[in-house]
Amino acid sequence: MRTRAIARPRALALAVALATTGTVLAGCASTAQTPASAGKSGHFVVAYSQSNNAEPYRAQLNIQLKYFMEKYKDVELLPIADAKQSSATQVSQVQQFIQRKVDALIVSPNEPAPLTSAVAQACKAKIPVVILDRSVNTDCYSAFIGGDNYVAGKKAGQLAVSLLPHGGNVGELQGILSDQPQIDRDKGFRDAIKANPKIHLVVHREAKWLKDDATRITGQWLAQGQKLDLVYAQNDPMALGGYLAASSAGKQKSIKFIGTDGLAIPDGGIRAVQQGQLAGTFIYPTCAKEAAATVEKLLHHQKVAKKSTLDIVAVTPANAAALYKQNDFSRYR
């Protein structure tokens, strides 16, 4: 008779699993109080939870934040935590920082609702919280710094109006339709182009913030025989994708492209304006400099504005070179 010792390893595995579960449950019950890592007076620890390192805009923000934080000698910035686009991850990261008793917290929320309770917890633990760009559904934070997507869209629309004094056909390349920045930029743009009734938004499609999707979609528009005079893209990669499609059809001169973001990287919008590929773009502020300054003030118990909205700077062929220099942080990487 063939028998196998199946039962024993199985029982062992079960025991291990039970033990692990037990430990986890116990851990939860007694919200472990580890001593704060920050101790020395005059030396503060600041943590930053980034929603997604992989977006170029946010990568730029990280670099800048590190740079500006270094200017304050009494502040130490912990390694930036990347939530990788997951709100759940970000909540747990924020909670970890609370447990470590950091002296201040900067959060770029991935989504407002899931992060609300985590921010409230930090607030209850008396940790100053600076929220960047996307809001949360509570007032219990120390400062909010952000740009205004509606204004970004509106300024782009105003640029379109001035580029098309005699009116014309406009196409819009949209980000992921359900994203709040998309919704706001779209609204701002549409409101602004109402100024000239001869400007018609003839086509608009979701290109998911992606360059290759924008290329493909613009290619389809041109194949359809759309007469376009201007394409507004809600970020620079999409604008450049559209430009690629137009130049493949030989229409890059007759169609004007407007982007948004204005990153000072070789592959970014400012360079593209400088090179004449884009008619203009708008620097959506990273808020890094302001965030660093606000944190420093909070740590020294100075008053800060509860809510500050930063300006959207227009990039034109005239000022592009200067703006690039001013915003180029590549040497601090």
Binding site: N53, A54, E55, P56, R58, A59, Q60, N62, L177, V203, R205, E206, L210, K211, D212, T215, R216, I217, G219, Q220, L222, A223, Q224, G225, P237, L240, G241, L244, A245, S247, S248, A249, G250, I265, P266, D267, R271, Q275, R333
Partner: protein, 364 residues
């Protein structure tokens, strides 16, 4: 045909004729494609069929199509490669960095990228054979690893491939690099009229080569045998581990080959390039008739599957169907296309319907 079948080979002419019939029969698999094309012609005749539009449609999907071909090889051996998108992303980043930082000529960049891809495929292959890790798990792990390397290399910043020289014009190598697929840059332009769009050419070439590899060579037979019945293959003298490693390496090699195309198409290598391409690749293979259980499928089928996916998108785009509606229609058409390709499904459906009607007829 009667039960009087003999084992003796039919005369050659009859065999040839029979083969023609069987090829025609297998064309049934292309019903989905025919429908999509017909829909395109009916709604947007001349626009849809214009060379520019087709080039645009196929070119946009070419890098994913090439991935799908590699994926087909892996799926045929009953494996799966989830890391193709990451491999493509890394290869496209490597190509852009070699161009921008090292200023290497594209003819050198391409083989380097393929080498890089093959090395990644080798890792997948070794993990799923010698370490006996299931391909799904192994490549899920490397999906993350390769993407991480890609992001580490690029520091999350996209790298543009249109490098301007001191005089403002593009550098020579960067200009040549555009031939890999920057829209509007064709190979042999001038000598061959408008020229040939490299991504399309590359995709077709890869399909032809891999189809020949599968149908004409011993290796191809071994691939089908390993996927169809691994034990039987081993007992027939097939080195099953080597075959599996080889398909993973080929899959990686093709991802490396597609990397520069993807970079050139966007004129920049994005650290997130190729994200979720594995789904498109698997979808193209499966729509083209490959069985995830292995042993069944072909590159021609995958080619058709890829065409269905991209032309469907194109047709819907040309008809200005709203984005939300597009998602619904695409999903439905994929299901319909797959059902149409499976005559046995249709037949058993017919049988089922007949049974139901017979039963209700009896009871009434």
């Amino acid at each position: 045909m009667t039960g009087e079948v003999t084992g003796v080979a039919a005369p050659v002419q009859v065999a040839g004729w029979r083969r023609a019939v069987s090829i025609l029969g297998s064309l049934q698999g292309y019903v989905g494609l025919v429908l999509v094309v017909a829909f395109g012609i009916v709604t947007r005749g001349d626009t849809f069929l214009s060379q520019a539009n087709l080039t645009n449609a196929v070119g946009a999907f070419a890098s994913r199509g090439i991935l799908a071909v590699g994926e087909t090889l892996v799926i045929l051996t009953a494996g799966i490669d989830l890391s193709v998108g990451s491999m493509l992303g890394l290869a496209s980043m490597v190509s852009a960095m070699l161009l921008v930082n090292q200023d290497l000529p594209p003819v050198v960049i391409l083989p380097l990228c393929m080498l890089c891809g093959a090395a990644m495929g080798l890792v997948n292959g070794i993990g799923s054979t010698w370490l006996r890790i299931q391909p799904f798990v192994m490549t899920l792990a490397t999906l993350s690893v390769f993407r991480g390397i890609d992001r580490q290399l690029s520091d999350n910043v996209s790298v543009g491939t249109q490098v301007a020289g001191p005089n403002g014009a593009l550098t020579g190598h960067s200009n040549t690099f555009q031939l890999f697929g920057t829209p509007g840059h064709n190979l042999f332009a001038g000598t061959l009229g408008a020229g040939v769009y490299y991504p399309v050419l590359a995709f077709v070439l890869v399909c032809v080569l891999c189809q020949l590899l599968l149908s004409q060579t011993r290796f191809g037979r071994h691939v089908y045998a390993v996927g169809g019945n691994e034990t039987a293959a081993r007992l027939s003298g097939v080195n099953t581990d080597r075959v599996k490693i080889a398909v993973f390496v080929l899959c990686g090699l093709l991802a490396g080959f597609a990397g520069p195309i993807d970079a050139a198409y966007s004129a920049s290598a994005d650290p997130l390039a190729g994200t979720s391409y594995e789904l498109d690749a698997i979808a193209a293979a499966v729509i083209g008739g490959a069985s995830l259980a292995g042993g069944r499928g072909s590159v021609v089928g995958t080619f058709v599957g890829a065409l269905i996916l991209t032309l469907l998108d194109n047709v819907l785009g040309l008809n200005a169907v709203s984005d939300n509606l597009q998602l619904i229609i695409k999903g439905c058409i994929v299901v319909v296309a797959v059902v149409l390709q499976r005559p046995d499904l249709l037949r058993s459906l017919a049988h089922f319907v007949r049974r139901i009607t017979a039963r209700t007829g009896r009871s009434s």
